[in-house]
Amino acid sequence: MELIFEKSRDGRHGVKLPDKDVPAEGRVPARLRREKDAELPSVSEPEVVRHFTNLSKMNFGVDSNFYPLGSCTMKYNPKFTEKIASSEHFADLHPLQPQLIMGGMLTQGALEIISNLEKLLCEITGMDVFTTHPMAGAHGELTGVMLMAAYHRHKGNAKKFILIPDSGHGTNPASAAIAGYRIKTVSSDSNGVMDLEEFRRKIDDEVAGVMLTCPNTLGVFNPHISEICDLTHEAGGLMYYDGANLNAIMGKVRPGDLGFDIVHLNLHKTFATPHGGGGPGAGPVGVKEYLEPFMPVSRVVRRKDGTFALDYDKPLSVGYISPFYGNFSVLVKAYAYIMLLGKEGLVEASENAVLNANYLKEKLKKDYEIPYDSNCLHEFVVSAAKQAEKGVKALDIAKALINEGIHPPTVYFPLIVKEAMMIEPTETESRETLDSFVDIMKNIARMAERDPGKFADFPANMPVKRPDEVKAARDMDLAFTGTEKGAGG
């Protein structure tokens, strides 16, 4: 499809702007002006609308396709929360308004939503205090590790390392590293959970904390979790819970009860806010009471008269990790979702997510190797190792699924499984969708046996087929520089 720049014609406009209504003329000295205009496209509104509508049709989304992308919790995004969040009383609210005298009184509804959501997330996770400021899951991780650092600095603890299992999300070690820590990786045992013996050898008083996903990326709940928490605390370290997989356990298990000190949640996973093609998300962080003094500023507090205000006076705080209060409109959507589902609905969501994952695992296990075949929770990992022997790799299976209108599972992750395909169906898929996925996966397995060469043709029905990633990285065509066709030349 043509680029928007290739549709540009001089003299066309997409928006009617107001005419100048003031007599004054602002002056910018010539040396402070740009020499040439910014070559933004010149297109009419109908052309812009058609361009982006047609682009949208080149995407799979949850509304149009089954999207069992492991660890991403691609559940249905309710429509009413979109409507609520777009209310002008939220959308037009200036974030600096509460910093004006009297202005805080004009944002009471927004502050109450933040406060109510924080309380709900505390109860869901068993933590004491939440902040809504982190703007994505990895941002929550960074905030969590910064909290650890602030705590240890305050205590005078000399800590250097963060322990992370080899099945952990890539963001865990990346977040710990940019917060100034060195990483020690702990292997997984034969059940797919962190190896307890190796952990015992590696935990010592130089360890600032341990970052864990529970259930982990294999969908397996670590039965030694209490012991791991105890050992970490004895060594003076903190336990960090990566909440990417919370959709497995709502109402069943709470990280706070298990002994975790810090958790982050992904509202764009568990709490049904849309992923937006990569974002925005929201990654609120919860902690136990004793870490409250270190939480980012500002904090929403409730005054004696019942009104809400922002508290910036926190001398031990890690400071500002967001310009304001986080991705507010995402928070509104998650809050509305929790209010609608309520206690029973949240439990039901987790139960059905786990049911769907186990159902798929049971149905796929004859045709695909399942390296860690214990009871899974919300997701599980199959290996295409058997198919790879015939030359059909996980990536080829992914492309065959696209050909069938299904977004592939997460492939090649976790790193500890060869030819990994991480499958997370979520609770919002019907039994017919799951059965149809199983049929397609079985067909693919049969085709891998009989006609492995066929996979090179997939996907045959999409706008592109296997675009050349090596060429992309080598040529680095990262912005269109022409005015006519030529990108990717």
Binding site: V28, L93, E112, I113, I183, G278, V330, G342, M476
Partner: protein
């Protein structure tokens, strides 16, 4: 009610398939020891869609919007064309994930490529990433990029950089071994000498902002030259709408530019989601943080788009990644792209020109008020500082009662500026708005 399609019968049959005949869903969790189960789960019962809508509407009504807004501070009340909202509401865009599978994501990928192209055209830079969380995080990521690229660890930061961003920078780096030099805000030329006095062989970058937090515009070409002589990079945080008129970071030989993209079609939304953009010279591409989309060819020679240079990223490089970012602000980048497409080359100039002229009008009106000092020594874009004869909070309170958000009190971030007010004017403010504001300001001070 959890958007679950299964009937009771479906559930029972599916449970049987996996060997649970009791029909008890809780058996799915039998692998979790009893003593590890939730000790409490005291969440209110669910409510109907209508009831939740009413509850949220009631909370929404407790926010006062529709104030005639002269507050900016880096976050501006610009007009958002209706087509922006309509197009980002296409669920094929907003219910998709990060475009890991290019065949199933060409819509998102091409849009990001077009967004990167627009950001490059706006700033004059060679490469842009696909977005970061916000302007403040983008500035921090730029500092880290400069540190990686130069192998040095000293950062000089101008006092005219948004104070919120400066706070974010210090917070993010508080556990790292980075030396910061803060150049105090001055209203004369000698701040350049102060920068140069600290510029040395250990300096990774000098961080500037244009227009700066006080709305003042400048040409930083001479600073870039001095920095490059010492092997340091220059980072500039910019306001995208101003680039309809102002000299680009590239024309000033800046190495990395960042900014808050909120003004490009993204609602103020009480602080987010916003859009951090980052663009740089080509030689820095392989060290940049965040997703980047590249154009390529597919197996049949057709043009296609993919996530590229992924070996920089956390899902491959883990602790050696250039950043920890995974989810970004893709839908906000899409908003910015659609805004830039609708407004176009001529529209951007016109919006910038309207901001400039209306701001000049506001400056003229307000400078006529007795004992109000309007700083005029330096040119500004759409924001300017006034010194009031008394603490601005009193005035702000009075004007809020009249439905006007008068501006931002600088004393909040600068202890030496207790009497100063920062006033922003966008294309949405009419001559009448400005006149009413000016009259109300005068009345608040003198009647």
């Amino acid at each position: 009610m959890s958007y679950i399609p299964h009937s009771q019968k479906d559930r029972e049959e599916m449970l049987r398939e996996i060997g649970i005949s009791s029909g008890n869903m809780d058996e799915l969790f039998k692998g979790i020891p009893e003593d590890l189960r939730a000790r409490s789960f005291s969440i209110p019962s669910g409510r109907s869609e209508y009831e939740v809508m009413e509850h949220l509407k009631e909370l929404a009504d407790r926010n006062t919007t529709g104030l005639v807004n002269f507050v900016g501070g880096g976050f501006y009340d610009h007009y958002i064309p209706a087509a922006v909202d309509a197009l980002v509401s296409r669920s094929e865009f907003y219910t998709a994930y990060t475009p890991y599978q290019p065949e199933a994501s060409q819509g998102t990928l091409q849009a990001i490529y077009e967004y990167q192209s627009c950001i490059c055209r706006l700033t004059g830079m060679d490469v842009s990433n696909a977005s970061l969380y916000d302007g403040g995080t983008a500035l921090y990521e730029a500092a880290m990029l400069a540190i990686r690229a130069t192998g040095r660890n000293k950062i000089i930061m101008d006092g005219g950089v948004n104070p919120i961003y400066r706070k974010m920078m210090y917070s993010y780096t508080s556990n790292l071994n980075i030396e910061f030099v803060d150049i105090p805000v001055t209203r004369d030329r000698d701040y350049r000498e102060k920068i140069y006095a600290h510029l040395d062989a250990e300096t990774a970058a000098v961080i500037l902002q244009n227009p700066n937090f006080f709305g003042t515009i400048d040409d930083h070409t001479d600073i870039s030259e001095k920095c490059h002589e010492k092997g340091a990079l220059v980072i500039s945080s910019v306001y995208p709408i101003s680039l309809g008129i102002l000299k680009t970071p590239r024309e000033m030989d800046v190495d990395i530019t960042t900014g808050e993209g909120q003004s490009l079609g993204i609602p103020l939304s009480f602080g987010g989601p916003y859009l951090g953009f980052m663009a740089a010279k080509k030689e820095l591409a392989r060290k940049m943080p965040g997703r980047i989309v590249g154009a390529t060819r597919d197996a049949e020679g057709r043009r296609g788009f993919v996530l590229t240079l992924q070996t920089r990223e956390q899902h491959i490089r883990r602790e050696k990644a250039s950043s920890n970012i995974c989810s970004n602000e893709a839908l906000c980048a899409l908003r910015a792209l659609i805004y830039m497409s609708l407004i176009g080359k001529e529209g951007l100039k016109k919006v910038a020109r309207l901001c400039l002229d209306k701001t000049e009008y506001a400056r003229e009106r307000i400078s006529g008020i007795r004992d109000v000092e309007v700083k005029k020594e330096w040119p500004t874009f759409n924001e300017f500082v006034v010194k009031l004869p008394r603490n601005p909070n009193e005035v702000i309170g009075k004007l809020i009662n009249k439905g006007i958000a008068a501006g931002f009190p600088l004393g909040r971030y600068y202890s030496s500026m207790e009497d100063y007010l920062l006033i922003a004017v966008t294309e949405k403010r009419t001559k009448r708005d400005i006149a009413i504001f000016s009259d109300a300001l005068e009345a608040a001070l003198w009647s």
